[in-house]
Amino acid sequence: MLGSLEIAFPATLEDASELAIEAGDDASFYAGGAELAVLLRYGLASCRYLIDLKRIEGMSATVRVRSDGVATVGALATHSSLASNPNMVEKFPALATAESRIGNVRIRNQGTIGGNVCFADPSSDPTAPLLLYDTELQLRSAKGARSLRLEDFVSGPYQTALVAGEILTELLARPLGPGWRERYLRIERFTRPTAGVAVACRLEDGVVADVRLAVASATSRPSRLRQLEKELHGLSPQEALTLLQGSREVLSDLLQPHSDLLGTAEYKLHLVQVLLRRGLELCCEGAA
């Protein structure tokens, strides 16, 4: 059962930021509350004050694709709104897929992309595709603003680079562009992802001209597999798939998956390997 909580409704981002600094660990920002409410309810997290971000000027749920193709996603955008946005489905299909599969319909309608990223739950769907797009995060606080790449933002399970009073306001995602194909694949256990893999690939003259591989959920933090990406460059799809087939040791070094209730490290590593191969297969299908 949820104990009593005080909720603050600051009008400006500066107020919200200062409130959070003042309250320290006793306070938590919230937007949809989809992740936070569960943990509070079951005593896995505790705080006494919630700082509502939904009524703050400058916080938005707007999802736009600019003329340069970059998507600007307000941190308050819900998972459903991203999953059903025609621009996102067309230009950022891997993300739209991931968003359409998060949790259940209530969580998708309530939960926000900003909350998901800031919560840094290791079992996260959208972070893998967001890594494909070199996503950049706009962070603001009473003390100023900065931007940080998603890759540098999540530092571990439930750990981010956010400092006290800092708020994620917007995400900037760069589309992969013409010639690319992308996929998000996951293995779940009753809606919770055990492993999530985003793969994007561009073939030119029958070989892999460019490839991006990102993994979430199986590991303590979402990550791009740049070393493996390099090894795939210039290979034919068949060669690339064969390389992935034999990549267990490389993956093990790169990912260091953790054992938990969803499975052992060995199992998760296996899943990542299978999903990477399947993802690449799907991206190359018909193109070779």
Binding site: M1, G3, S4, V38, L39, R41, Y42, G43, L44, N104, I187, R189, F190, T191, R192, L261, G263, T264, E266, Y267, H270, L271, V274
Partner: protein, 781 residues
């Protein structure tokens, strides 16, 4: 059907239940929704965070100093109560061990499971009580925890109960024929083991909420329980009050599955109410719920022998049962696993031996189809293994070996070494028909099935049968039906509705018995004040036992009506006829309301006059009590179709169908709901549910980490097939069907896995990772 009923048989069969709209619109009041009694204060439990630890000291000074905190009950503040009093569903039946072996009011010297009750704070508000709980300083000295049967019987194992010589809680054995000779003569012998882990019932309403009111003239407990009379003896034993001064009232219950029993926390709340002379209310949390009761863990090791035709000649079973920290359900559950270990098969020689141990886990007790989840997973998986070894189709194997209609299980058996006649009913259903219904439900005979599927996954089908014991035990059941001056029938009883539709069933039984419109039947809230005994809504007995008691009460009421009619309008009672909801003699005809009103001196006050009938039911317990009074078998069958991704191990249940022998269906949507609900519950148990203990604690005891299937995870349709031969012992020929599907899903899925990829698992749940280990994709575990 007469005009007084106003509904056709079909309309009665499919009637809209009164509770449905209330439930889906949030109007139903569960215990936490009951209005406040004046002066209510709030209890919050102090529980052990460790599975095994010595209590060095409890310092409640800081907690008691918090404004609004009214007190604590713990080992240092006991109000003279005996803390070692037995509490729980089976209290009073189990004292065969040391004083500490039964679950008791409070932990004294040590805690024996994660969640063991150390104390309870009482405060002016629930929030204050919870904050005070955090301020209670309990100093523990951690002890090595025992988490498995193997741990418990290991040499020099830590003792869960130091006043006992070992961790052995109880044993049991049961046999007929000559197993050793049978196995020696068998053409094929298969050895296998199947492990069922601890699981939690997970009712939607948490376990442990209550309102306890120690009043001046009666002690009242508002409990969401399935067994209202069960707590009374324990209240009497702990507090020394007269049993007639104790009253249990039951609001709507948000699911039970065996979990909704009296808990030590509820007794602590009552003790605090006694101390303060104020009502004490406890709001249970989900975390506490997980730490209140569980399903037993059990390893079933078997040797099965068949002849050249694949007919069983012998089955030898050894059970290693883990009952958790206290005795609780150890005796009953061990016996239940033993007497269902042979499944529903004709086995000339059978033997089962069981040892049950204590561990530092949540004490286990009743769980939907108590004991049969464990045995059914094992025997039904084993049948497919034996069939594979003997080169026989698993369907043929079952048709050849399942008991036939009218066939006896055995002529005699030895229970703990003593020979008894096997006086249980002969098989009362046709398994071939049940199998046909379940298989048709998933389109088993569809020849167009492609394997592997177009997406590359392996497809498999599996079936499992249950020999669920219908209406087991229960003593004598009473019900009373009161006819008022408006012609309405009020049913007084103590059978809680746990969500499955007990209230609706009783309404229909009374309406059909009295031949009146169901709207004229008012089923009252279950409670104990009227003294109408009932063992509880459990063991699939309610339709048979309480249904019969209500039917009997209606018949007795009709006699009263005839007497009253004769007094009012002349003639002898036997000349009056109660039929079609009317009371007639020759060409005289009166409504039931008119008969009731004829008894009043002031007919204008319709509510002043009443006629009553009392009804009862019981079934003679069998001679050796192995089955504790079994009046029918109540079997079922389940068929599933799965798709297995060989590379990732993912298993998807594509189709699932259930069949049961209902005798006579009283309310069709409720019967379908029970069978489908059981299948969905079974699917969770089959695929994810398992309580995990590590580092001296339960590590997944919350609904966030202990995953249940949701509406998105189960097949869209779960077809249900029913046999109705109107041959059950219940009203109108009904049988119990509540628990036939849930135990069958795990073995059916395991068998479908065998069909799909050629291996099955020796433990539940059937997870993707375990499938990969079993198929060799991942190294051996």
């Amino acid at each position: 059907m007469s005009s007084e009923v106003g509904l056709t048989d079909d309309q009665l069969l499919n009637m809209t239940r009164r509770d449905w709209f209330q439930k889906v619109s949030g109007q139903t009041r569960y215990v936490d929704d009951l209005p406040e009694l004046p002066g209510t204060v709030y209890g919050a439990a102090v529980r052990s965070p460790f599975s095994h630890a010595r209590i060095v000291g409890i310092n409640s000074g800081r907690a008691l100093a918090i404004p609004g905190v009214l007190g604590i009950i713990d080992r240092d503040h006991l109000d003279g109560l005996d803390p070692i009093v037995r509490i729980g569903e089976y209290a009073g039946r189990t004292r065969e061990h040391g004083a500490s072996a039964d679950q008791h009011l409070l932990a004294i010297d040590k805690v024996r499971f994660d969640g063991d009750l150390v104390g309870m704070i009482v405060a002016e508000t629930s929030d204050i009580a919870r904050r005070a709980v955090d301020a209670v300083e309990v100093k523990y000295e951690e002890l090595p925890a025992v988490f498995s049967y193997g741990d418990a019987v290991a040499p020099k194992a830590p003792l869960v109960h130091e006043d006992l010589p070992s961790n052995l809680a109880c044993d049991d054995w049961f046999e007929w024929g000559d197993v050793d000779k049978g196995l020696a003569d068998a053409v094929t012998v298969v050895e296998a083991s199947y492990y069922t882990p601890n699981a939690f019932h997970h009712p939607m309403e948490p376990v442990g909420s209550c309102v306890a009111d120690w009043g001046t003239d009666e002690v009242v407990l508002w409990l969401p329980t399935n067994k209202p009379f069960n707590p009374i003896g324990q209240v009497v034993e702990l507090f020394g009050v007269d049993r007639h001064d104790v009253r249990v009232r039951v609001p709507e219950v948000g699911g039970a599955f065996g979990a909704k029993q009296l808990t030590p926390g509820m007794m602590a709340a009552l003790a605090l109410s006694r101390r303060l002379s104020r009502p004490v209310r406890v709001y249970a949390t989900e975390l506490e719920s997980f730490r209140s009761t569980a399903r037993h863990a059990c390893n079933y090791r078997a040797k099965a022998g068949v002849d050249a035709d694949g007919r069983f000649v012998a089955l030898d079973v050894e059970l290693e049962v883990d009952t958790g920290a206290y005795f609780t359900g150890a005796r009953l559950v061990t016996r239940n696993i033993c007497i269902s270990a042979w499944g529903c098969y004709r086995i000339p020689s059978f033997r089962v031996r069981a040892n049950t141990v204590y561990t530092n886990k949540v004490p286990a007790a009743s769980f939907r189809a108590t004991g049969k989840t464990e045995s059914t997973f094992a025997i039904e998986s084993l049948v497919d293994r034996v069939a594979a070894a003997a080169g026989i189709d698993p369907i043929q194997m079952r048709l050849r070996n399942a008991l036939r209609l009218g066939e006896a299980v055995a002529t005699s058996w030895r229970v703990r070494g003593v020979e008894y006649a096997a006086d249980v009913p002969a098989m009362d259903t046709d398994y071939a028909e049940l199998m046909r219904l379940a298989m048709e439900g998933i389109g088993w005979r569809d020849d167009t099935v492609v394997n592997p599927m177009p997406d590359g996954r392996a497809r498999g089908r599996g079936i499992a049968l249950s020999l669920r014991h219908g209406a087991q035990g229960g003593g004598r059941t009473y019900a009373m039906v009161t006819l008022d001056g408006k012609g309405r029938a009020h049913v007084s009883h103590a059978a809680p509705d746990l969500g499955e539709g007990v209230s609706n069933m009783l309404q229909l039984v009374a309406a059909r018995s009295l031949e009146i419109h169901p709207d004229q039947v008012i089923v009252e809230r279950p409670e104990t004040r009227h003294g109408l005994n009932f063992e509880g809504t459990a063991a699939q007995r309610t339709t048979v036992h309480m249904g019969n008691a209500v039917r009997g009460a209606c018949e007795s009421l009709k006699s009263e009506v005839r007497v009253a009619a004769a007094q009012a309008w002349g003639g002898k009672p036997e000349e009056w006829c109660v039929e079609g909801g009317r009371v007639t003699r020759a060409d005289e005809s009166y409504s039931l309301a008119e008969v009731a009103r004829s008894q009043g001196t002031a007919p204008s006050f319709e509510g002043d006059v009443e006629l009553k009938g009392l009804g009862s039911y019981s079934y003679a317990p069998s001679q050796e009590k192995a089955f504790g009074g079994l009046d029918h078998w109540s079997p079922g069958a389940v068929a599933v179709e799965v798709a297995v991704d060989r590379e990732t191990g993912e298993l998807e249940v594509l189709k699932m169908a259930a069949a049961a022998d209902a005798g006579t269906v009283i309310h069709l949507p409720s019967v379908i709901g029970q069978l489908q609900g059981g299948a969905v519950m079974g699917m969770g148990l089959a695929t994810t549910e398992e309580l995990i203990y590590e580092d001296n604690a339960m590590i997944n005891g919350d609904p966030f980490q202990y995953r249940l299937p949701t509406i998105e995870d189960v097949p869209c349709e779960i077809p249900v097939g029913l046999i109705e031969r109107h041959d059950g012992p219940g009203p109108f020929g009904a049988k119990g069907i509540a628990q036939v599907t849930s135990p069958c899903i795990t073995p059916a899925i395991n068998n479908a896995l065998l069909d799909a990829v050629g291996v099955q698992l020796n433990q539940a749940p059937v997870t993707a990772e375990r499938i990969l280990h079993a198929t060799g994709v991942l190294g051996s575990e």
